[in-house]
């Protein structure tokens, strides 16, 4: 089924109606003319007929006179008259050309009539003419008039032939006259009927035309109303501009802008436009170009609405003669787009610019710099200690901390500078046109801005900012490279202890590059097993027996040779490689110790000491790792000792608590705990008490000076005393000479470790070292030789 559209173009329907009206009028007029023509033609025939019929009466009387004249001997031709009478009577009945009478009459065409009454009269007339002529003939031939047969039922008196003739003539004339009158009357009636018919038809035609016209007007009105409601009820704003002035504005403006239509007329619309859009709108309103634009218009509440305006040039259209602007409110869309753009280029957490926007701004600044040769600086900021906050207090606190830091930073930068969060705890700042002095000042302000504690919830948190600064001195530059250099400078700042800034120098890049290389190699080394454990014995100074070893990791790089732990351990800590490295060491040490135990090399009390990094502790889960290593190796916990530095256990708060709990747990299972490098940190005695410690290792720096420096000796003595006071064992590290050994013995150290006894050796050599080593002799010998 085909659906008719609800709305058909006006032109088609209107044209059809107009055609219908015209056709009706044409049909009516044509019919009328046809009727008139036919009626006129018929009337002409009738007129001829009336004339011929009427003539019969005269002829009949003339015939009587001529008969009488002829009978009396006068010159007359009644026979001729009789023949005309008879011919005429025939023609009146059958139609044809009526005869002329002695040239008096014009020839007349007669059409036979169909009216039965008239035909009856004409037939009677024909009979009477016949009787008249027969009677006249009888008189002229002196025949017997009475014997002439009469055919028309007439009963004239018989006594006088002339009377009979006159009566017959009278009857003939009368019936002929009656026939002609009837024809005339009929014709009159016909004319009247024709007029009535024509008036009726005309009236009907007029009525039909009026109805059609009325329908046309109704349709037009409906369509106009249809258009009007389309225009007025549309949410689009429709305006017509003529000569740059607004001539029409649709009602939708009330809804769209909260203003009445009249407010937009003339220059009203232009006055409501945003100043920046006026020139554009003026061009649209006068020339129709551009055809589309988004214009900002002030609504009743003094808010800017964004209208998507399209121009249609109808200046050539004689119904409009202007430019039609269709405008749709796209404020929400524009807002959404703005919001999406903002989201695409801003960091959702802090509202600062994101990496993409920062890169964009930096690229633009660099492009400008090519032309202007202006300087610019990029500052990269990383928060020291943020990771711990995130790990220990949770991401919520971490996020709030980032927001707080972002606010602090934002307060100290100029609005023209681009402050961005690149991700994690990494921020970046672009200072356009700033020299080194200014950049330094800003870096200081950034660092200082976070030096005051941030209040997050009910906590006061302190973070430090490390800032890397890179200068671009104008000309060509790569944003990528600048950011990388700033990153190196920032790393250098972090490396120096954090809470400081460094300005990028070319040498840094080299150093950094080497470091990256080293990191890469270290990663491979862990996987390839290039890391090996060496073990250094620890001697009980009382029993002179080896009571344990310290496991020390050695990296034998195929490229670099033996790499010192001092070179790669900090790198491993900085990069997080310390986690897999630490686990490797633990597992290796446990496995090896278990082997020694089976071989009888290590007999209780024997402890293999493994160094635990602060990072391993603060990350959590160390007890689990230790537990697994012990289980996998099948080693009793008492054979394993963990050395932790003071700094690793000092951190307060949840991380410190968790580390302490984990150590406590391990300690309860039998694992020994030692404080490494004791005396170099800042541990308070109170904290020491809270930790499950078995052993204190006196730092080698004190041991080295013990012979000659009274202060070192005093410190060592105190440390040993402290250890003993707490019920702990004291170990002296780094014993290299007999003198040092004698001193530590004197000061009461329980155990000693150092090159004097044995260097760290591979596991397979330890048995030999233990067998060969005559530690008793060393211990008892006078302090004269310093062995290496």
């Amino acid at each position: 089924m085909q659906l008719t559209p609800a709305f058909r173009p006006f032109a088609a329907r209107g044209r059809r109606t107009v055609i219908a009206i015209l056709a009706t009028l044409a049909a009516v007029s044509g019919g009328s003319v046809l009727l008139s023509t036919r009626a006129t033609a018929r009337s002409q025939h009738r007129a001829a007929m009336v004339e011929v019929a009427a003539r019969q009466r005269t002829l009949a009387e003339r015939y009587v006179n001529e008969v009488l004249l002829a009978r009396s001997g006068a010159q007359a031709d009644p026979g001729y008259t009789a023949s005309i009478l008879e011919q005429s009577a025939r023609v009146l009945l059958a139609g044809g050309e009526a005869p002329e009478v002695n040239g008096d009459d014009d020839e007349a065409d007669v059409t036979a009539t169909t009216d039965p009454a008239v035909r009856g009269m004409l037939m009677q007339q024909q009979r009477l003419v016949h009787d008249l002529a027969a009677t006249g003939h009888a008189i002229l031939t002196h025949g017997s008039v009475m014997s002439v047969p009469l055919t028309a039922d007439e009963q004239p008196p018989e006594r006088n032939p002339v009377d009979r003739l006159r009566v017959l003539a009278a009857l003939t004339g009368n019936v002929a006259l009656n026939a002609s009158r009837t024809i005339a009357t009929n014709t009159d009636h016909n004319v009247t009927r024709l007029i009535t018919l024509q008036v009726t038809v005309g009236a009907l035609g007029l009525l039909i035309s009026l109805l059609l016209a009325w329908a046309l007007v109704a349709a037009t009105r409906r369509q106009t109303a249809h258009f009007r409601s389309l225009v007025t009820s549309s949410t689009d704003l429709v305006m017509v501009f003529r000569g740059g002035k607004c001539r029409y504005a649709s009602q939708s403006v009330v809804h769209m802008l909260g203003r009445p239509e009249r407010e937009l007329l003339a220059d009203g619309f232009s006055a409501l436009l945003h100043a920046d859009d006026r020139a554009l709108a003026a061009s649209m309103q006068t020339s129709g170009e551009p055809q589309q634009a988004v214009l900002r218009v002030l609504n009743r509440f003094d808010e800017w609405r964004h209208l998507d305006a399209h121009v249609t040039d109808l200046r050539e259209d004689r119904h409009i003669r202007g430019l039609v602007i269709n405008a749709r409110d796209v404020t929400e869309r524009v807002r959404l787009e703005d919001e999406l753009t903002r989201q695409a280029f801003h960091d959702g957490l802090t509202g600062l610019a994101n990496r993409a926007l920062f890169r964009d701004r930096l690229d633009q600044a660099l492009a400008r710099s090519v032309r202007s040769q202006e300087m610019l600086s990029v500052l990269l900021v990383d928060l020291d200690g943020f990771k711990q906050v995130n790990d220990t207090l949770g991401h919520d606190v971490g996020d709030q901390l980032l927001q707080g830091v972002a606010r602090r930073f934002d307060e100290v930068v100029r609005p023209a500078d681009t402050l961005a969060r690149l991700g994690g705890d990494e921020f970046a700042l672009l200072l356009d046109g700033a020299g080194e002095t200014q950049a330094e000042a800003v870096a200081r302000r950034l660092i200082e801005s976070v030096s005051r504690p941030l209040v997050i919830g009910d906590r006061e948190l302190t973070v430090k900012a490390s800032v890397g600064v890179v200068m671009h001195l104008g000309g060509h530059g790569e944003s990528e490279e600048l950011i990388r250099h700033a990153d190196i400078a920032m790393y250098a700042a972090k490396d120096s202890g954090g809470g400081a800034f460094r300005i990028f120098r070319t040498a840094m890049a080299q150093e950094f590059g080497q470091m990256l290389e080293l990191e890469h190699e270290l990663r491979d080394a862990i996987e390839n097993g290039e890391l090996k454990l060496h073990y250094q014995p620890e001697i009980d100074l009382t029993t002179r027996r080896v009571v344990g070893v310290e496991a020390l990791v050695r990296w034998e790089s195929p490229r670099r040779g033996l790499v010192s732990p001092g070179d790669f351990i900090p790198l491993a800590e900085a990069t997080g490689l310390i986690m897999p490295l630490g686990e490797l060491v633990l597992r290796d040490a446990c496995r090896q110790t278990a082997e020694w135990r089976r071989e009888g090399v290590a007999a209780e009390p024997f402890v293999t000491w493994v160094n635990l990094s602060g990072r391993q502790l603060s990350a959590g889960g160390v007890s689990e790792v230790v537990r697994r290593a012990l289980d996998d190796a099948g080693l009793p916990a008492s054979f394993l000792g963990l050395e932790v530095t003071e700094t690793a256990i000092v951190p307060d708060g949840a991380a410190g608590e968790r580390a302490r709990a984990e150590l406590q747990e391990l300690h309860e299972q039998g694992v020994r705990i030692a404080i490494d490098d004791f005396g170099t940190g800042f541990s308070s005695l109170g904290q020491l008490r809270r930790f499950p410690i078995d052993v204190i290792k006196v730092d080698r720096s004190f041991v080295q000076g013990i012979e000659h420096d009274a202060r070192d000796a005093a410190i060592t003595a105190n440390l040993v005393t402290l250890a003993h006071a707490l019920g702990l064992v004291a170990i002296a590290e780094g014993i290299e000479s007999g003198g040092q050994l004698a001193s530590v013995r004197e000061l009461g150290c329980d155990l000693a470790q150092g090159f004097l006894f044995a260097r760290p050796v591979p596991a397979e050599e330890l048995g030999q070292v233990l067998a060969d080593g005559d530690f008793s002799a060393l211990i008892d010998a006078p302090p004269t030789v310093a062995g290496i």
Partner: protein, 146 residues
């Protein structure tokens, strides 16, 4: 559908006009008759009617059987003398018998029947058609009222 209403209105108008005419025609056809009705037939050229009638009001129902047009006059005559003629010798001089004329019907077309009501008193009457030549052509008859 769009034209249904206007068309219906138009048809109604036409129908109304036609029925109006019909009513008017019917109204004209009604005529009043009273008393006895006597058939009178006229034809060329003879009048047929009863020769004798009783007194009183009588309605002559006159039928023209044609083919010519005829009229009818009713005149009371004394003594059976012929009606006076005009100088042409062919038509009755109606002026001279005006006082004796009871009624007449104007010339009527063939095929038409018309009524003529007359009050008859005892006497002799003539019924005739006085169209040119008809009286003398035979269109008259005597009527005796008792």
């Amino acid at each position: 559908m769009r034209w249904a209403l206007p068309c219906a209105a138009l048809l109604c108008l036409v129908a109304l006009a036609l029925t109006g005419c019909g009513v008017a025609v019917a109204g004209r056809a009604s005529a009043q008759t009273a008393g006895r009705v006597v058939q009178v037939t006229e034809r060329d050229f003879k009048i047929s009617a009863p020769a004798q009638l009783g007194t009183g009001r009588v309605t002559l129902r006159v039928h023209n059987a044609g083919p010519d047009i005829h009229e009818l006059l009713v005149a009371r005559v004394g003594g059976g003398a012929p009606l006076p003629l005009r100088l042409d010798g062919l038509t009755v001089d109606e002026d001279r018998i005006q006082a004796a004329t009871l009624g007449n019907l104007e010339p009527g077309a063939p095929g038409v029947t018309r009524d003529l009501t007359v009050d008859l008193t005892p006497g002799r009457y003539v019924l005739f058609c006085n169209m040119y030549g008809h009286y003398r052509g035979g269109m008259h008859m005597q009527l005796v009222v008792n």
